[in-house]
């Protein structure tokens, strides 16, 4: 017992690698699309657990003070226990920022970004085509997973789906910088939509997507691509 108390103190003394970020909105802000109860449990229990477990697992190791992205890339194949928690911590932080109370629908050139609108049309033909493909990916992730909109260094967009904690940033090649995600683990929607994942996905796309955040991510992807060797 003394040993476990000491190791907890040791973690606290070193400073945790990662903190649980606060939600970018109030727990009641996404009603009625996502309930307060869901946000409280999803953020306060699921996301928090990933963060706490990650901190415990990396304490005293060389990974301890690395950035989350570094940990994810380093442990992707070799340390699935750490990877699952690190990736889920990252995925959830990203997911919260992908939503906003009055979001969703088709992005607007003036309100959001011309680059984003142009790239959606260039990559998918139209917003409607993008929407259809993203919804299909979200609805056919067979199990727990995530649907993603990703960009390469030139702003070419594509839709991906991943299983479990997996994140497209660890896909091979430089294709896949995440710019938007939707959590389709059942805990993300079960209290509000029961088994009706398609309803949740439709609501996410039509009422929640934070296109400003998506546009920022796209800018960053294209900028960083200019410096890519």
């Amino acid at each position: 017992q003394i040993f476990s108390i000491l190791s907890i103190l040791a973690v606290v003394a070193h400073g945790a690698t990662y903190d649980l970020p606060p939600l970018p909105f109030g727990t009641s802000s996404l009603k009625p699309m996502i309930s307060k109860k869901t946000l409280q449990i999803h953020h306060g229990k699921h996301h928090a657990k990933y963060v706490n477990t990650l901190n415990a697992l990396v304490a005293g190791t060389s990974l301890e003070n690395q950035s989350l992205e570094k940990i994810i890339k380093a442990t992707h194949k070799s340390k699935p226990g750490i990877f699952n928690n690190a990736a889920q911590a990252w995925n959830h932080s990203f997911y919260w920022k992908c939503m906003t109370p009055k979001g969703g629908g088709m992005p607007n050139e003036n309100k959001h970004s011309k680059l984003l609108c142009d790239k959606i049309n260039a990559s998918f033909g139209s917003y409607d085509n993008f929407r259809k493909e993203f919804a299909e990916a979200a609805n056919t992730a067979f199990g727990s997973g995530w649907a993603w909109l990703v960009s390469d260094a030139k702003g070419n967009l594509s839709v991906r789906k991943t299983i479990g904690a997996d994140n497209p940033m660890v896909s091979s090649g430089k294709c896949c910088i995440p710019i938007l995600t939707c959590d389709v683990w059942e805990h993300a929607y079960y209290l509000d939509y029961a088994n009706l994942r398609p309803s949740y996905v439709d609501t996410f796309l039509d009422k929640l997507v934070n296109w400003e955040f998506v546009a920022e991510n796209l800018e960053r992807a294209v900028d960083s691509g200019k410096n890519w060797s």
């Binding site: 699935p80 699952n84 067979f142 727990s144 479990g164 059942e186 805990h187 079960y190 209290l191 029961a194």
Partner: protein, 283 residues
Amino acid sequence: SLSRAITTTYHIINNNTQSQHHRRPSTNKITIITMSAKQIITPALRAASIHVRSSNLSPALSKSAAAHLSTAPAGGGGGVVHTLPDLRYDYAALEPSVSAETMEIHHSKHHNTYVTNLNVAMEKLDAAVSKGDAGSIIGLQGALKFNGGGHLNHTLFWENLCPAGESAVPSGGALKDAVEARWKGGFEEMKKEVGAMSVGVQGSGWGWLGFNVKTGRIEATTCPNQDPLQATTGLVPLLGIDVWEHAYYVDYRNVRPNYVNAIWDIINWKTVEERLVAAQQQK
């Protein structure tokens, strides 16, 4: 395999043979007989269905008959339509371990969806196989594994659950022997290991107790998503525990360990033993 009974058939009266003097409206009889789809829907009859509309049957009758033939499962290779099995107990019977609300959504919605989508995938497979379309056959594998696995797994699951009052760990017999052969601490140790493995599944999946036909021993393992135990590992399923979030979220929220602890109270050990005995006899 299941065959759906086709409950109507009909006689096509070829009005060309009727005498010119008897120009009354066709008095076609609908003969109600029960036959299996395999016997009645041959490729020849299916091909003939396009001619039904051109017979002198009344349009409504011929239309409905043609529709019947064209949508009926094919004879020969396919013809199997999967159905949602009834539970042997009421939705509320597994409380407090699993609530009636969970049981109703889990059975009538989740499992039902797997059954529906499995049938759709099987029909597409049927069409692809009859055309020899390898690309499509391969493309269907994901849907078949997911929905077929989902149907198999849940069918096994409902059968290995029972009301707490009927759940009794056996005090002797084949299952007790097999468990004690594998775990020195008997049932308690087995439950700890299967429980821990089930809780430890990352994301969606199942915990299993399975029988290894080659070694004659029972084993604990897990499978991801809806991957069915036997097709994936070769083990014969004895006991399955669903740890998809939908199995416990309404009752236990994120606290999967509490659900797994509670489910031991409602395991139908009789069924588990029957499965073991049947599997042991396969050797």
